[in-house]
Homo-oligomer: 429 residues x 4
């Protein structure tokens, strides 16, 4: 029998707290889940440093990836299956793209990419197309199949309907992570009526639109996003942990470049420090490796590396204060000088962080480079962009709230030290 | 102000998916949570290898410890506070014992203790009484305070009421983990009416008893335990992962003793292999270190160490078959011989595992060495042991179901190899 | 187009708190729901007098009937559809039987049937086969169709597979009411994993069996039943309300027979008092009519009718004491005499009620006249009756707990009256 | 002991699906719940005709009233108890006002008040101050106590803090009904983090303000209100049922005034038709009486009364079309004429209904006669009105969406009748 159409003897299920069960009927999906590259996602947390604020947020990208797959499966098998606008031959590529869309994420993904100037989407592509177990499984379908899956994830696939299932303003990716992150953090937002949204989705030639009777369910979804962003994803304390994480890695890289002699060999990091990352090195670097190295570094000679890694492990975070770079410019210059004078290297101990650096965005129809906006399909079949119909969505879309914070180690500042005293006076002002 | 009675300026809360919020009012509790020994519990999963079967079960002992603390807090602050049988001066020692009861757990606790012949309760004691941040904080209350907390956890504390809050057939520990493990795995059992159980708890001179009107809520709780044990805790596939974990560690230990030359230094393990574990070594060894070493070992020369560690990381588990050691004795001997002949070392590749080895038990009133049974307080104030009043509890208590399974690497057996063929024939019989 | 296969232009849904949505695709189902006989079920509570104890239990048989339909729909459309053992031509008759199985329930069904010696199953049949809107709709399918639906509900239908979907130890009826009653009362039992149970159901020639891997889910379901019975359905206080309800109706009937002159005409009750109930009279008598008459009766001359109806409306219930008719026989005789002496007619004010009179039962395999027991299908396809495989089920099945209670109006007893004093002494003993 | 401070021997609880348990410690509260006027609320649905659209919405004002009491109890006993700004002597009057605030609601409250020009708030006052069981119980506290409770509900009580617990933009009333109505309808909005809102409430001299850190929880609550209004409370189909209900009552009143001879005496309605309602008549008229009369009226000679009452009972509702009275003025005049010509009395069969007639409103700070807006308390203790800080709230507050619908009996229009044909043409345009 052809591999593409091969079904498991009996449907398998994974118990999932968000979707109750994840259903697998295809041999291909089963085999992909068993690959070592997919299993690796168990060792990468979905929300990076957020677990240091919301202690329940210890869930991995593995769970999320299964969840995205399940939502795509429900779309194609339950909702679209009998609609003529949907091309059934795209079923398998859609399922695989949903399952594998996060495959290239590194440990503490965002901080990590930032320090080493990497792009997880590129690594997803390299894993799918490279010499990997995932590639071997996908190739059993056909020689072109890995390329097709990769294109869906890269949004270059010709059939935009398929792309939009995974990457649009209301895709399976976002619908899973909002619900999942809400479940594991325990917050009360993040809930919306996905059943209803699925029921009102209508495939169109190059996108998925929403029957206008479902507008309120979509409003609720957009609001969930909005609340999750401000309450969870942009939480200033988890950003503090991320600042320390980045600075630790930057310090290690600096020391390496500087010829510093590490006590324990830093083999796993060498190619990252050199800016010349091989695929195997990338796949090998998961969060347990990072955390192990951080433990090693708590024993290093270098005081900054030791301090920062210890802070991260033991959650001795930096405090923060709101800052407006435009207005507070002089203050910042002055603080840098004072930190230098106080022997606190400002490169590591006085850090500005802006929420707009984070990989989340609100609903912003019309901005160039943005995802396709959400269209409502009116009873007369005309399309209307969501924020034109909804007051609520209009109110929150397109507004990029500036949120700059200055992070610093308050515990190191001593009121009895005159320089520190001046620093404190400026920060508390 | 005395440290013991010092309150935070404003109550602090942790968002918790199980109890909604964890409430902290005492400076002491706040300071304990901030210690590095308590933060370390974030790096130890609550359910060991279970996440390889129930992918949601990625939660840590950190979350669970906060949950136990919160239940104890509700008992002493909301339920017992106005009952004359409860000694209010025990409040703080009870809260600390609840919070710290799992402090000494090692990575993948049960497997780890087994291989290195360690006892997590002893390490909890050593952390509380030793040269640690936790000890430093507890000692601020009084010189004797760490000792008192340690005794409650060791069940040797004179006031058995306090002990029973943490360690009895219906204690804060079990009430938290059943609900928490159910929440994170997503299974539908594990739920019971804790609100009602708290309301019907009655402190007695040396234990906590249950008002008999609450019997059905208790039955429900006992049933939850029963279902969680068979469905989650004893799940044969997570036991397969545990078997591989143990065997990997055993192989590493064997190689070390044998003078094997590890490519990457195994400093973190030396004292464990030597059977001479220092407190600092113990605290340093968390699950990220274990997982990092397992990755290192996938590159080792030794074929067994390499194979086993790779299996664990990539979830290539052993298959299993039910076995009755009494009846199948000859078969087992024969299999050992055949494995030897086939070049598969039976010490690592043919492993019997019994559920009764696991650190869970059912409700078994009356067995020596067991926890105090649950007593119902009848309207006339007489006490009646639960299984005498409840048919359901009677039905499931005291029955130790034997469950032996034989684990082996089915993927290594080749039907075309005659020895393998004989092995397969025996295993499939 | 044939009516039987006519689909709605677009699927319609009802929002349902238990199943999220009830899905309707068939014109026939849509038309049945719109009949006046089905709409009448909105005016009959699912749990009779239980709302006087669990205030949330105000839900109607209308909701429950939709729920049973939905579960049958999921069985036949999602689970059985591709199994050769299932005869697809039975789909429609199964859906209709699920929807209509409770159609003949009268107001406060059990008490009502008891007083007037009626049988709701017979009235279900009469409504389906008689001159009604429901019959008119069903007949559009075919002349024989109403008869077929009626036979499924009466359990006389030849295809026992179909019967067992609605009436067996684990049917759609029970699966809906356990979950629904738990939801509306707010109790914490009543939950079980219906998704999993549906997945492990296997149609067999004359019944539905359960794949043995689903045993624990079934145990959980049986336990839910057990807990719901003792905690909700047999609650002694809602039985007190039922006692008063029955006695009020009995008094009204007695007065009618006795030629009493009612202030407001009792037209709606005449044929019930005469024992000669016409279908139209039956359909007209819903709970709003009963409650209205009870209000009318609070203004009647007859002291007993006035007192009892006022008690019911204002929830001034009888108190109760446990009684063992075998042992307490003499006491009961004595109490009757004393009530007579005290001017409290014991026919109305001293009432024994036994839980075994209630229309619920536990799991009792093997008793004659009982529903077919639950069979597990072992891996070798043999069948094994559930209580043989499950210790828990074995423990609670077949045990008929005797629960007799004596109800009386404690508020009418005056400690200063010597006869009352003697009554109180006996009751409190 | 003084009645006001009398506690129950043991706390009593009601199981509640929304708040888990309702806790009662005061003898006074227990006695109020047992009065016949409070028990009457069991016979009045919380959401009037909404159950004809959301079948789960069969819950009563009894449940809601207990829920409001419970929220007030949590505010005063858990949250405010140790805040100096809160006057503890107001505890009891606050609890009673919360419990009794809806006491005067009539059956299908809004429609009923409209037809008979009544005001439920006035009847709440009359029940509390009149010759009732409720008044008798309240008077046990002190002669002035009923008056005080009545003033809190009437918002004329001097201490505005107390008033605002029951009647403000974020009071116990709204927090209960949003959650409760969401629970019983089963919709996915209506959820917000009440625990957090309670925690950030701060009593001020004449109102309750919100700590600004809780802004997002308040936004979520405002959004819940918004969604519940448009999705549930203003649902066009339940408004259709309400239109028919009103028109039935209007027809009965018209016939009475006209000297029509009713078959069954309409005693219960006489004083309502006369516009001269006595308290006892009001209390006697609950929804079971209304529904019983509707059944009686399905047998009346008058064709309009018969048709309308039958429609309501059997849910044969009117259809509707959107209409803009300003623009469609001529069309409406024309339709009226055509309905007259067609023999369909437009007073009963062509009805315009506007959502702004409904007793719900959005958050509208600043409009005269409106409730006090929500104030955030900034870290510097300044107050800031919510919509100034929140983009979302600003977007939806103050916008009164016009929603006019024209209801008519589509089923009575016959395409083959030329007049009907013209009507249909206009309505479909």
């Amino acid at each position: 029998m052809e591999y593409a159409t091969q079904k498991l003897a009996e449907e398998k299920v994974f118990k999932d707290p968000v979707h109750r069960y994840i259903h697998v009927q295809d041999q291909l999906i089963w085999d992909l889940i068993a690959t070592k590259e997919f299993q690796r996602l168990r060792r990468i947390k979905q929300l990076g440093t957020t677990y240091l604020v919301f202690h329940g947020a210890e869930h991995s990208r593995f769970s999320h990836s299964l969840g995205v797959y399940e939502i795509v499966r429900r779309m194609v098998d339950d909702v679209f299956v009998n609609r003529p606008e949907w091309d059934k031959s795209e079923r398998l590529v859609a399922l695989c793209a949903g399952l594998l869309h996060d495959l290239g994420h590194g440990p503490f993904s965002h901080a990590f990419e930032h320090v080493f100037d990497l792009d997880h989407e590129q690594f997803t592509r390299r894993i799918i197309l490279g010499n990997t177990e995932v590639n071997e499984v996908l190739s059993r379908v056909s020689d072109q199949f890995p390329q097709k899956v990769s294109e869906v994830i890269a949004k270059t696939y010709p059939n935009k309907q398929v792309v939009s299932l995974i990457s649009s303003q209301i895709d399976a990716d976002r619908m899973d992570y909002l619900q999942r992150d809400a479940y594991f953090t325990g917050v009360s937002y993040g809930h919306f009526d996905m059943e209803r949204i699925l029921r009102v989705m209508r495939p169109q030639p190059d996108q998925i639109v929403i029957k206008s009777t479902g507008m309120h369910a979509i409003e609720d979804y957009i609001m969930s996003r909005y609340q999750m962003y401000w309450q969870v994803y942009f939480h200033p304390v988890s950003r503090s942990a991320e600042v320390i994480l980045k600075k630790t890695l930057e310090r290690a890289k600096f020391l390496y470049k500087d010829g510093y002699d590490f006590k324990i060999s830093i083999d796993h990091f060498t190619s990252f420090f050199e800016g010349n990352v091989k695929l195997a090195d990338y796949i090998a670097l998961d969060e347990s490796i990072i955390m192990a190295y951080f433990q090693f570094w708590t024993k290093e000679e270098d005081a900054i590396l030791r301090d920062l890694s210890t802070r991260f492990l033991n959650r001795k975070l930096f405090k923060f204060t709101d800052v407006d770079p435009a207005k507070d410019w002089e203050k910042l210059v002055q603080l840098e000088k004072l930190f230098d004078e106080a022997g606190l290297d400002p490169n590591y101990y006085l850090v500005m962080d802006s929420s707009s650096d984070l990989p989340y965005d609100f609903y912003r129809p019309g901005e160039e480079g943005e995802r396709v906006p959400i269209y409502l399909q009116l009873p007369n079949k005309d399309l209307s962009e969501l924020s034109r119909s909804s007051d609520i969505v209009d109110a929150i879309s397109g507004k990029r709230r500036t949120d700059h914070k200055l992070y610093y180690p308050k515990d190191l500042l001593d009121v009895n030290n005159p320089i520190h005293e001046r620093i404190i006076a400026i920060l508390d002002a």
